[in-house]
Symmetry: C2
Subunit: 636 residues, 2 copies
């Protein structure tokens, strides 16, 4: 794909065609998405009415198209396209062509394309940017178009979405007669950057930049819009009152121009999509002040408002952020899509500001906050992800959860682009995933086999199986979670105190003329460890969470009985690795206390007995019944 | 006062005229109410516009009378009347006459009396029972009338309110042309019972019974009312949507007939006033099923939804109850008025079902949940009472807090009637308060001097200073908080294992022909103690609160530095009594941990150092700056 502007600092996510994932942990999950999730998602589009709406074959009594429907179609196309790259499938390819043809047929002569407004409210087009998700849907369709084009080389959807993007570019802007606004739910901004990358057309980048820069300026667009419209808007009835979070400027990150935003606020998915676009634009436009804003937001989010799982957005009320250090476990919202959005933002920060602070959080979110959303069988989903449960909380069938399953599908089918990046004759491993990667080195192609065992032994091998003649750089993130590590090339140790080997960014590199079979071997420390919260997380004072490698662990009732909060872990207790029901578990000698007597507040002393604490990875919880769960354990 | 029906089980709160409180703890607080609160409250009535509204001297631009205004006037009259009993004050007496004359002049020919509806919306009388607090205001005026009559013997206000009550009795009921409804905010029910007691008129009791029995029946009155009215009601705009707590039936305890209510729900003050009236009616009507409902509600509330301070109602959203064991500290609502309401209910339960389960909670609420509402200087008030603060939370000047200061004033000026009750030749001490009490014994009057030091030595002396010829029973509650106790008459021990001495109800009695100077001496154990929460209070697992006698203790920043949650109390640590800034403090050798490093989740081990933990009574917090505070302390 052509790049608009060169950026000396950047590496690029690897093209999906250049990576074959063969990972004992990830591959089965990706395969489930391919064989279960994507077909089921299509089935939903057919049966709920999305496709019939495009076919203009709706009957009286058919469900009214939801304003999100186009994004459902889009995410299916995007995931299906990614899947085609690793698993060519003529049937799926043809099905994609059919759906795209439907989309094309539903497009207006002027390029407009939106199921809800076309079917239900054609007069109201572009009058309710705050609530109606109109450009949000367009953004997802653009992402789908770029993915489909990259996967198949076909321009069928790309052409459709270029036409629509061109219309949007004429409707919105600062010119005479244009709407000087932006969408209430960010998404089109990052999509337009992708479209610019895919087409080499600068104007899409400029439009993305316009949307981002206009946001939060005065006079406040959504006030002007509401005045013009004269109605309370799509969510008017539900989101009533000035004080409702859905009506605050912070909710949609429009409380200040983006460079003046210093804290992650509001609806968390919206925030992640905005910050992703900001990072994209900082890179493409070489814009240091925008990068600085991103860094500040990242620092704020990850040091004050992020769960230990990489989940973000603690409140269901606004589906988003509340106050610093307000991270309740049992009522955690921590939407799966928000953790996915965090991974998206991290991926983009790594393109312009490579540092393990992003890679560590990317890995954390993938293995915990994101993956917890998905049941082992791939059939059930968490929309919100509590970090503690008193029991009775479980994943729902897809049918009940609209946005997260397709978002999970597109993330997992494009996992390679999060795990690996390439620079000039360089392979960068952000997240070690086993498989084979192809990297351009001048006019040659190097092939590197990755064997990653970060969940087990901690050994990561990068084996050059096809060596270029010219030097190739192999770069890998050294996660902060590893207290000890060694790096060897063919058995020879590299000095990790040498800044040329391990940079200040936490990435270790070896550049040389590799021979076929040469190995760069990173040995990480995957002994279980205790994490303790910043003292400002007052509710967790004196508590620890257990981690191993990138995984956060949890106690479940099925392994430990009820009243998990009555368990405690002695400060000196060994943390042993121990298989539990086929899961990589951790076990320790702990204590269980009971309190004799009755009444709400008792004078009796607790009775303390030894108890084995048996922990399993957090992502795996609620797969063996919906009993109690908790991550934070009292230390005694 | 005549009683309507005899009840063999009941004792009666002492008449205020029969008790002179002279207590080193309570008297200064009551004196502050007399010299500061009551005059200031009157000043408010004059300056805000309450009295001018009665005078019909309102000008354009005057504030619209608030629907609560009559209750403000009423609570002032009630507190001022109680105060007159212990402190005759001709000036206050005359001022009361003036205000009562204004009320009389504002009464309609038909007996109707309500400032808001008379001045603002005369057409809307009795059309918005759900929101408009119309009968609630009437109830408070009735309570005021009864108090004024008891204090002065005058019937000026009692006559006014009898007329109004008679009107209400014709308007409401199950007869032809009557409104078959009840008020959204309970209050008139318990007031009518008082009016029946004061006048000996059975019809007021019947009216109270009608309101209580009608509540929560089908068809649902407030739906019918809203339909008839055709408008959303007084709070229509603020309380919108079916799901808003102010629109749920539970919010106003109308989700079921009262005998089918098994859990304390909804707005907590409303609940307490209803349950108080239910207890009154169970007593007056000798109604076992109503008593059983009260007992069940009490059991539910005090074992599942009560803070360790006796505060109740954990959520600001509905000013009330949420779920069992949902008692967050920092966001605790625990309205001062709700703790007062709990004391009112306890007082009434003790009249029909004497047991220390009520006396213990009465005492707890008085010393903690209620008293925390008042600053040491009597000038500032907590409306809601958090049980933990990260700093910056303090009491507000009265001006900002409408309902709690007058409610505190009437409670403190009538404290004697909560502390003492009398039966047939019997003095019952529910809450030991120092002073002198007169008790009828046949045609004689016994005088008993009480010396109570429950906050210090734990010694409570009941000294008979005027002895009747006939036997007199001295009865005192043995609080469950005392782990050891002795009871002596003139130095001779009584056997507390003897059921004739210490009953199953937790009250100890001695009946004899007392001689002048005879003493019943109860020695309680006031050593500081640790309270541990029911294991279902999961957030406080492994934590303790410190209590001494009836007081709950708290850590404050001013004594312990910041980050109180980083302090811990070893299991074996001695709890020493230790004066802190003139307060009865408790001190212990504890630990403070700090966590080196940075980041939200750290691998570093905590550094633990010795630290003195210095605790002060919870009620006294936020009198020496508005720093951090917490009650629950991690045990280590």
């Amino acid at each position: 794909m052509p790049r608009i502007l060169p950026s000396v600092r950047a590496t690029t996510p690897i093209a999906l065609a250049d990576v074959d994932i063969a990972d004992s942990f990830w591959s089965p999950r990706i395969e489930t998405v391919r064989t279960e999730t994507i077909p089921f998602q299509y089935h939903q589009l057919e049966t709920i009415g999305h496709l019939d709406s495009l076919r203009h074959q709706r009957q009286d009594g058919d469900p009214v198209p939801h304003i999100f429907w186009d994004s459902d179609i889009a995410k299916w196309i995007e995931a299906a396209s990614y899947s085609l790259v690793s698993h060519p499938d003529p049937e799926l390819d043809a099905r994609l062509d059919d759906v795209i043809a439907l989309l094309a047929s539903a497009q207006g002569d002027d390029g407009y394309l939106n199921t809800y407004f076309t079917v239900i409210a054609p007069e109201e087009r572009f009058t309710d940017l705050r609530d109606a998700h109109e450009l949000y849907c367009a953004g997802h369709l653009i992402e789908a178009a770029v993915a489909h084009h990259a996967a198949t080389g076909k321009t069928s959807l790309l052409d459709v979405m270029r036409r629509y993007a061109d219309l949007i570019g004429t409707v919105f802007g600062r010119g005479e007669g244009q709407i000087r606004g932006y969408d209430g739910h960010e998404e089109i901004e990052l999509a337009l950057v992708k479209l610019a990358e895919a087409t080499g057309e600068r104007r899409y980048l400029d439009l993305a930049s316009y949307f981002v820069e206009e946001r939060g300026t005065e006079p406040y667009f959504f006030d002007l819009e509401a005045e013009r419209r004269g109605t309370p808007g799509y969510f008017g009835d539900q989101f009533s009152g000035e004080a409702h979070p859905g009506r605050t400027r912070e909710y949609l990150q429009a409380h200040a121009p983006v460079r003046d935003q210093h804290e992650a606020v509001g609806h968390s998915v919206r925030a992640m999509y905005l910050y992703s676009a900001m990072a994209d634009l900082a890179r493409e436009q070489d814009d240091d002040s925008l990068l600085e804003a991103c860094r500040e937001l990242w620092q704020h989010l990850t040091t004050r408002r992020m769960y230990v799982t990489g989940g973000i957005g603690s409140s269901a009320v606004n589906e988003g952020f509340t106050r610093d250090f307000d991270l309740p476990d049992e009522t955690a919202y921590a939407e799966t899509c928000a953790a996915i959005g965090l991974a998206m933002w991290a991926q983009r920060m790594l393109r312009i500001d490579r540092h393990r602070r992003y890679g560590d959080v990317l890995e954390l979110a993938l293995y915990n906050g994101v993956l917890a959303g998905l049941s082992h069988d791939g059939q059930c989903f968490f929309y919100d992800n509590p970090l503690a449960s008193r029991g009775g909380v479980g994943r729902n069938a897809w049918f009940d959860v609209a946005c997260c399953p397709p978002n999970l599908a597109r993330l997992l089918t494009s996992l390679g682009s999060y795990a690996f990046a390439t620079g000039d004759a360089e392979l960068v491993v952000h997240v070690p995933v086993s498989g084979t990667v192809r990297v351009a080195a001048g006019d040659e192609t190097a092939v590197v086999e990755v064997e990653a065992d970060v969940l087990g032994t901690g050994r990561v091998v990068l084996r050059v199986t096809e060596a270029p003649r010219q030097p190739l750089t192999l770069t890998i993130r050294i996660p902060e979670w590893s207290r000890r590590m060694t790096l060897h090339v063919n058995g020879e140790p590299l000095d990790l105190d040498d800044a040329d080997v391990l940079g200040a960014d936490g990435y270790a590199s070896a550049t040389r003329e590799w021979q076929q079979g040469d190995e760069l071997v990173l040995q990480l420390d995957t002994a279980p460890r205790r994490l303790r919260p910043d003292p400002r997380l007052a509710d967790h004072a004196g508590q620890v969470s257990i981690a191993r490698g990138p995984l956060i662990y949890a106690l479940e009732e099925v392994d430990n009985g009820k009243d998990l909060h009555m368990l405690a872990l002695p400060q000196g207790a060994d943390l042993q690795i121990h298989e539990i029901d086929g899961l990589q578990g951790v076990e320790a000698h702990g204590q269980r206390s009971t309190l004799p007597g009755h009444g709400l507040y008792r004078m009796s002393a607790p009775v303390i007995e030894g108890a084995a604490l048996r922990l399993v990875p957090y992502f795996s919880w609620a797969n063996r019944g919906n009993g109690e769960m908790r991550i934070w354990i009292r230390e005694c």
